[in-house]
């Protein structure tokens, strides 16, 4: 590596740092990405708490699902809108013509966005604790931390995959807005996927976060048996495998997408 070159890690770090600084300068822009998960969680908690038979385990499962929705919402919007804003502001061409490959720049942004989503997750946990008096006793803390981290990576990898589509498409708004709620449904954030029709369950199994949220619930709630009928280790294995698959696929697609984008020369259209 010549002295003028910078490492991939430095690109990711710089991109992540810049996205974080942008957030702290103007934090109000977190609201559009967290409002839907927040309201959906609150409504779900009201619905569950109105039903007399619902146990605190169900409420805790909903709060954890809400946290997941928050992470997911921010990842989807963050990934989609970071490219969208580049396009809007006329900086997408500059970003693509920089010597650093786009994938590492996007990775930095997506990692920060998922981290930002975790803040929303924590916020929902606090609301659940204070308003709905959900007892947040984590049954297996080390596994809970591990599951959360693995799910975090899985979400980021999914965000990377999504960002590919948005580089090429002028329909970023369509993709991000259209995909948000269906993924809440398919990943079983608020209800187990067994409650879904079989054809949707097929999609659910292909999504890493489905396994991730199951692992999170299994580690947090003692005796949790409403989710997938597998062990927590299998959940984690599937989440990791999905993450690796998403990363490999996005790595390949980013190269192709960059080539197509440069060849077509229509990046700035919106």
């Amino acid at each position: 590596m010549s002295r003028l070159e910078i490492s991939r890690f430095q690109v990711v770090k710089a991109s992540m740092g810049l996205t974080a600084r942008n957030f702290f300068v103007d934090p109000q822009w977190i609201i559009p990405s967290i409002i839907a998960p927040f309201v959906f969680t609150m409504v779900s908690l009201f619905i569950f708490s109105r039903e007399a038979g619902q146990t605190s385990a169900v409420l805790l499962a909903a709060v954890l699902g809400g946290g997941m929705m928050g992470m997911w919402g921010t990842t989807v919007y963050g990934s989609g809108e970071s490219i969208g804003f580049d396009r809007w502001n006329g900086t997408l061409e500059c970003t693509l013509s920089a010597p650093s490959p786009l994938i590492w720049i996007i990775m930095g942004r997506v990692l920060w966005n998922t981290m930002e989503g975790s803040l929303n997750g924590v916020f929902i946990l606090v609301i659940g604790l204070l308003w709905f008096r959900v007892g947040i006793g984590i049954a297996n803390m080390p596994m809970f931390v591990l599951s959360t981290m693995v799910t975090f990576l899985s979400l980021s990898a999914f965000g990377m995959l999504l960002a590919n589509l948005i580089v090429l498409s002028r329909r970023g708004g369509f993709i991000t807005n259209g995909i948000e709620i269906p993924v809440y449904i398919a990943t079983g954030t608020m209800f187990p996927i067994v409650a879904l029709p079989l054809y949707i369950q097929g999609i659910s199994y292909a999504l890493g976060p489905t396994w991730g949220i199951d692992a999170i619930r299994r580690s947090a709630i003692a005796g949790y048996n409403s989710g997938l009928h597998v062990s927590i280790y299998f959940d984690l294995l599937m989440t990791v495998m999905a993450t690796i698959l998403y990363m490999a696929l996005s790595g390949y697609l980013f190269v192709q997408v960059e080539k197509i984008a440069k060849r077509n020369g229509t990046l700035g259209d919106y």
Binding site: V39, F40, I47, R50, I181, P182, Y184, I185, F191
Partner: protein, 272 residues
């Protein structure tokens, strides 16, 4: 030079007509074919499905499932009636046309309203699609429905919610953007307007907000119409819907002038 009332009305009408044509040709940024598909076909189905599966899992009765499906079918109209309308002034700001618009002598309210009017059609299409999903996919029973009352309730709800969108849009004249507030009010109805559970289940301090939003009364009238309630029993929610719609519209008109003055004074019209 004084302006006669007749002249003022004519000028306002002309501004309204002009901006209606302008609005229908796509000045509202979301107005592209994919957003139409998204708003009319995808979002209602996604939102209804989410809450349908949720109440099914929570073990609610079929009547409650129907309550939730109808509530969400109607609430999705806010994507158009509140969110799109609320962003009219902000989109002008982003595109750098707000200051040019505000130096024209045209009536501001007419200009904004003209661009909002075609969202009545859009929001009706969204809710009707949602109700059709309700009938064909989620088993909502329309056998007793009073269709003329249902149509009236839907139109009035749409118009009242557009007034609400206009109210938020005026914020964009002064604040950096109305987008944030628009996003909040896009979804807050799900929680406070009796979409998924009766308003009475909310804490009393939150119910104050419920009764300030026309959607709360609109939903009562629409559910009543679907259940085939007598016209007499629907008079109250429809009157409340009309009244809140008119009050909100009045506020929107009043605030348009006030916020314009404030933004001129602060010179921050183009800041976003």
């Amino acid at each position: 030079m004084g302006v006669s009332v007749r002249q003022w009305v004519l000028e306002s009408y002309r501004s309204l007509l002009g901006s209606m044509k302008f609005g229908s040709k796509g000045t509202i940024i979301w107005d592209s074919w994919d957003m139409w598909v998204l708003e009319i076909a995808v979002l209602p189905l996604a939102q209804i499905s989410f809450f349908y599966f949720l109440v099914g899992y929570a073990g609610y009765s079929p009547s409650m499932v129907e309550y939730v499906v109808v509530g969400n079918a109607v609430q999705t109209m806010t994507f158009s009636s509140v969110f799109a309308v609320a962003n009219i002034t902000s989109s002008d700001k982003w595109q750098g046309t707000l200051s040019s618009l505000l130096v024209t002598p045209a009536n501001r309210a007419s200009m904004i309203m003209g661009r909002a009017i075609y969202q009545i059609i859009m929001s009706l299409m969204i809710s009707i699609t949602g109700l059709l999903y309700g009938y064909f996919l989620f088993g909502v029973n329309f056998s007793s429905a009073d269709y003329p009352m249902l149509a009236l309730s839907l139109v009035l709800t749409s118009m009242s919610m557009i007034s609400f969108g206009l109210l938020i849009s005026t914020i964009g004249l002064y604040m950096r953007t109305a987008l944030i507030v628009a996003n909040i009010f896009l979804f807050i109805g799900l929680l406070v307007c009796g979409v998924n559970f009766p308003v009475s289940a909310l804490p009393s301090w939150l119910q104050i907000l419920s009764y300030a939003i026309p959607l709360t009364y609109g939903l009562q009238a629409i559910r009543g119409s679907i259940a085939g309630a007598s016209a007499a029993s629907l008079i109250l929610p429809i009157s409340q819907l009309l009244l809140t719609g008119i009050i909100v519209f009045g506020f929107a008109l009043g605030l348009t002038n006030s916020f314009e003055k404030l933004s001129r004074k602060s010179g921050k019209m183009e800041v976003y």
